[in-house]
């Protein structure tokens, strides 16, 4: 029955080439699809058991490969929420039902609810960072929420820590004990004064007046007052005593804080949190009073005005007062064998038995790569190779059909043996 075998074999060959042409067609159609990974066909033989001297032709099997792990070239766009992955990771997205998928198509725009959705309508998932660090589940999508900038409307953070770095003048005249600011008298004297803006629980600005007074050789007193309590026109006496005081002692050799000296001052911000002001880098050298840096965290309630996304996937919201706070972290997902992922409509993939389980990590960790904001990953399709495959497939298809034709003609001859 080898003539039938020839015809069946050539039919399988034509089917295989048709499959190949199908992948070419799909590739060419998606030549401009963001995040598209091109497919190709691999063929394998299917042989029958043959007795010596008699050969029964086998056929060919098609295996469609998706080159999901290949990196598309990255092209700039003008939108911050256009994201591309340079590396092996995938964005975690979900459909309307909440089913999680993986994708590399990162053209995200906010929808009516404020969720970031890509061209195929899948929501970008991320970890919400406030108030606590995210609880990351390595092997699943739990705790992921859609990245949404709408509910960032107002955010306030009380101040909890800060630092003050200044040089206190070693040659200053010591202030008499009865005139020290800590006593809060009308004629209180001080060597230097600074002030620092902090925020209470509701984000209200609390201006702290910080007085430095030399009490003796290498000994200083720090007294912190709430500026709201200041006498009319500013200064002493304050309506209530110092919020906090500390004694600093300096090393007469190095000019830095002496061993055993207080190196920070804890301030209970009125209506706010405990604020630790780090003074450990203060110095006392023979020059004038110079402030080198003064910082405090916290921010006033204000709406998010600007969003930007770092390469590590941290989404920062910048508030009206200039404070920049990370609000989301976009994770990247990874599987052991990306090429074995099951592709679904909309450039998304889902884990299959062969691909291995989904693992969640962050950008710039391991091989996951980095998230590039304001850029899109182009389709990996190369027109030139698709066109050559097409020509090749056309020729192969024609060759197969010739084999079929020959088999058919031979059958014809055979059938015509009997008149």
């Amino acid at each position: 029955m080898s003539l039938y075998g020839i015809m069946r074999t050539s039919v399988s060959g034509m089917n295989a080439q048709a499959n190949r042409l199908s992948t070419v067609a799909e590739n060419v159609a998606n030549v401009n699809t963001t995040g598209y990974k091109h497919g190709s066909c691999e063929f394998s033989t299917l042989l029958l058991s043959n007795c010596p001297g008699d050969y029964e032709s086998g056929s060919v099997m098609t295996d469609v490969r998706n080159h999901i792990s290949s990196q598309g070239s990255i092209l700039n766009t003008a939108s911050v929420t256009d994201l591309a992955v340079g590396g092996d990771g995938f964005f975690a997205v979900s459909d309307d039902d909440g089913t999680p998928y993986l994708t590399r198509a990162g053209s995200f725009v906010p929808n009516g609810d404020g969720d970031l959705v890509n061209a195929a309508g899948f929501r970008l998932m991320g970890y919400r960072l406030d108030p606590d660090q995210p609880n990351i589940t390595v092997n699943g999508f739990t705790n992921l929420t859609p990245v949404n900038f709408e509910d960032l409307a107002l955010s306030a953070a009380p101040s909890t820590s800060g630092s003050f770095l200044a040089n206190l003048p070693a040659g200053a005249t010591a202030i008499a004990g009865a005139d020290l600011p800590s006593l809060n008298l009308a004629g209180s004297q001080y060597t230097a004064k600074s002030s620092l803006i902090t925020y209470d629980n509701l984000g209200g600005e609390v201006l702290l007046d910080v007085y430095f007074s030399k009490t003796g050789d290498n000994a200083w007193e720090v007294a912190v007052f709430s500026a709201d309590d200041a006498a009319a026109g500013g200064g002493f006496p304050y309506a209530s005593g110092p919020v906090s005081t500390a004694a600093l002692s300096f090393d007469s050799v190095t000019g830095g804080l002496a061993v055993g000296s207080a190196s920070s001052i804890d301030i209970a911000i009125p209506g706010g949190q405990n604020f630790a002001l780090d003074l450990s880098d203060m110095s006392q050298l023979s020059t004038s009073y110079v402030v080198l840096s003064a910082e405090a965290n916290g921010n006033a309630p204000s709406g998010a005005e600007l969003i930007d996304i770092g390469r590590d996937g941290l989404v920062y919201a910048t508030y009206g007062n200039g404070t920049r706070v990370p609000v989301f972290r976009i994770p990247l997902a990874h599987v052991t064998s990306p090429d074995m992922l099951t592709p679904l409509a909309g450039n998304v993939y889902t884990a299959s038995v062969d691909s291995g389980d989904v693992e969640i990590g962050f950008a710039q960790e391991g091989q996951l790569g980095s998230i590039i904001s304001g850029a899109l990953e182009q389709s990996t399709v190369d027109l030139a190779s698709e066109l050559t495959s097409m020509i090749d497939a056309q020729r192969s298809y024609t060759a197969n059909s010739k084999v079929f034709q020959t088999g058919s003609e031979l059958m014809d001859v055979l059938v015509n043996l009997k008149r």
């Binding site: 402030v291 005005e305 920049r324 066109l387």
Partner: protein
């Protein structure tokens, strides 16, 4: 993946980068020569995969040079203010060579007395000596008025300066917030940064400042001495104009963040910038000159005062020709009341214009009959006039607080006063010139770093043109290649 399609993408990214660079370049060129514009550059980065992209915008700036300029601007503005004020004060004291100067007036009076001394019976000569005395008193009144005017103007200028500082700090908040918001993103912050630096330059002219950079390119501004001007938000700078500067006391202090920064009670004083210079003029230079005028007036009153001529002198010394118009007692050495020069007047008893008798100058008796020196009523009595005429050359004591030593004759005191002002003025002129030159140098050095060099921009433009041409050539070649492949499909 190196394929034809990715080659197209690379060429496309090259085109867009060249486009962005040309936009930047044309901006640079249009702002060439602008003092507050810093040259912008684009940082080109390679994205993973290989295409080119603008990674951020750079701005030529040298913080050290800017700090230097801020320092120089403050000291130049301050010294110019001191110089202007001293020029004005110098004009009121006058060059001793000129007729209108204080020294010339004293000389005139002495001359008038000498003439009267030669012919003591001549009523008209007495009257003209009184006229010379009146001119001298007027001169001291006018000097005192001018000094107070200088002080009052300085006081008003301080109020204006404080208002300007508050306005600038308000503007600074807006621009600084924009910078902080945008830093860390790829946004082009050049405009905000330029504005911020130009506000700093203006601010440093008003008051000496120190700039501290915080995370996110946030800037805090501290006044010299360390008082906080801006940290997150502007601190209040307050000043109330001084109501009365006539009494020779210091004016009100400027408060920054509740700390006095000018005047004798300054806890954290500022030393450069207009504000500090105005305070120096108001509270030091002009006050010292006022004290000198007051001392001259006090010595005049004392020199012309009369003592009781009775057997044992019964009454105290009383004022003679020159009096304190407010009726104050005879000023004792070292106890000159402030503002005396403004109240110096001619005793109406000896003023012919007020119906007085100029012969009291010859005979004495402004203080009553017991103070008459010419007891016989002789018309040739010269002793009193001689004594008065010589008094200008007699060394007397002066309050050292006036800054011209403790003893001098009135004549030499008036010349010393004039040369003191002149020396101060010249010193201030030199200081203002050198500070101005320093500022100009600092500005030039900064401009060399931040300014736009047209030659450099044009050379870059040629480069850009070539790059753009090359990218477009690549695109057309790839197009031709794909076309030939498509032709192969039949």
């Amino acid at each position: 993946m190196a394929t034809l399609s990715s080659a197209l993408n690379y060429a496309l990214s090259g085109l867009s980068v060249s486009g962005a660079q040309s936009a930047l370049l044309s901006r640079n060129v249009s702002f060439a020569g602008e003092e507050n514009y810093s040259r912008r550059t684009a940082e080109i980065i390679t994205l993973p995969g290989g295409s080119a992209s603008i990674g951020g915008y750079g701005r030529s700036m040298d913080k050290l040079l800017l700090d230097k300029l801020l320092e120089a601007a403050g000291s130049a503005a301050g010294r110019q203010v001191v110089f202007d004020a001293l020029s004005r004060l110098g004009a009121t004291v006058g060059d001793p060579q000129d007729d209108g100067s204080l020294a010339a007036m004293i000389g005139n009076l002495q001359q008038g007395l000498r003439t009267f001394e030669a012919d003591p019976a001549n009523n008209a000569l007495g009257a003209s000596a009184i006229e010379a005395a009146r001119a001298l008193a007027d001169k001291l009144n006018q000097m005192s008025g001018e000094i107070v005017a200088v002080r009052e103007e300085a006081d008003k200028a301080m109020a204006a300066s404080v208002e300007r500082i508050n306005t600038l700090l308000g503007q600074f908040k807006v621009v600084n917030d924009a910078v902080v918001r945008g830093s860390g993103t790829a946004a082009d912050l050049g405009d905000s940064l330029d504005q911020r630096d130009s506000i700093l330059k203006m601010l440093s002219e008003e008051v000496g400042i120190r700039v501290v950079t915080r995370p996110n390119n946030d800037i805090s501004i501290y006044a010299e001495g360390g008082a906080v001007l801006f940290e997150g938000s502007p601190r209040s700078v307050t000043f109330a104009t001084t109501a009365n500067l006539l009494n020779g006391g210091a004016g009100n202090a400027v408060f920054v963040d509740g700390v006095p920064v000018t005047g004798p009670a300054a806890a954290m004083p500022v030393t450069s910038g207009k504000l500090a210079a105005l305070a120096t003029v108001r509270d030091e230079t002009a006050v010292l000159l006022q004290r000198q005028a007051d001392e001259a007036a006090a010595v005049l009153i004392r020199n012309f005062s009369e003592s009781d001529q009775g057997g044992p002198p019964a009454g105290p010394d009383v004022a003679g020709l020159f009096i304190d118009s407010s009726g104050g007692p005879l000023p004792l050495p070292g106890q000159t009341p402030p503002g005396l020069a403004s109240r110096l007047a001619i005793n109406p008893l000896g003023d012919p214009a007020a119906g007085g008798n100029p012969m009291l100058l010859r005979d004495g008796g402004f203080g009553g009959s017991s103070y008459v020196y010419n007891s016989t009523g002789a018309s040739s009595f010269q002793e009193r006039i001689t004594g008065l005429a010589q008094s200008f050359d007699v060394t007397v004591s002066f309050d050292p607080a006036a800054g011209l030593g403790s003893t001098a004759s009135l004549k030499s005191f008036s010349i010393q006063s004039a040369s003191w002002v002149e020396a101060q003025r010249q010193g201030a002129q030199q200081a203002a010139e050198s500070a101005g030159a320093m500022k100009a140098r600092a500005g030039e050095s900064l401009l060399r770093v931040t300014g736009v060099n047209i030659d450099q921009e044009m050379a870059a433009l040629l480069d850009l043109e070539k790059t753009y041409q090359a990218s477009s050539k690549i695109i057309s070649v790839i197009d031709a290649m794909l076309a030939s492949l498509l032709d192969a499909v039949r």
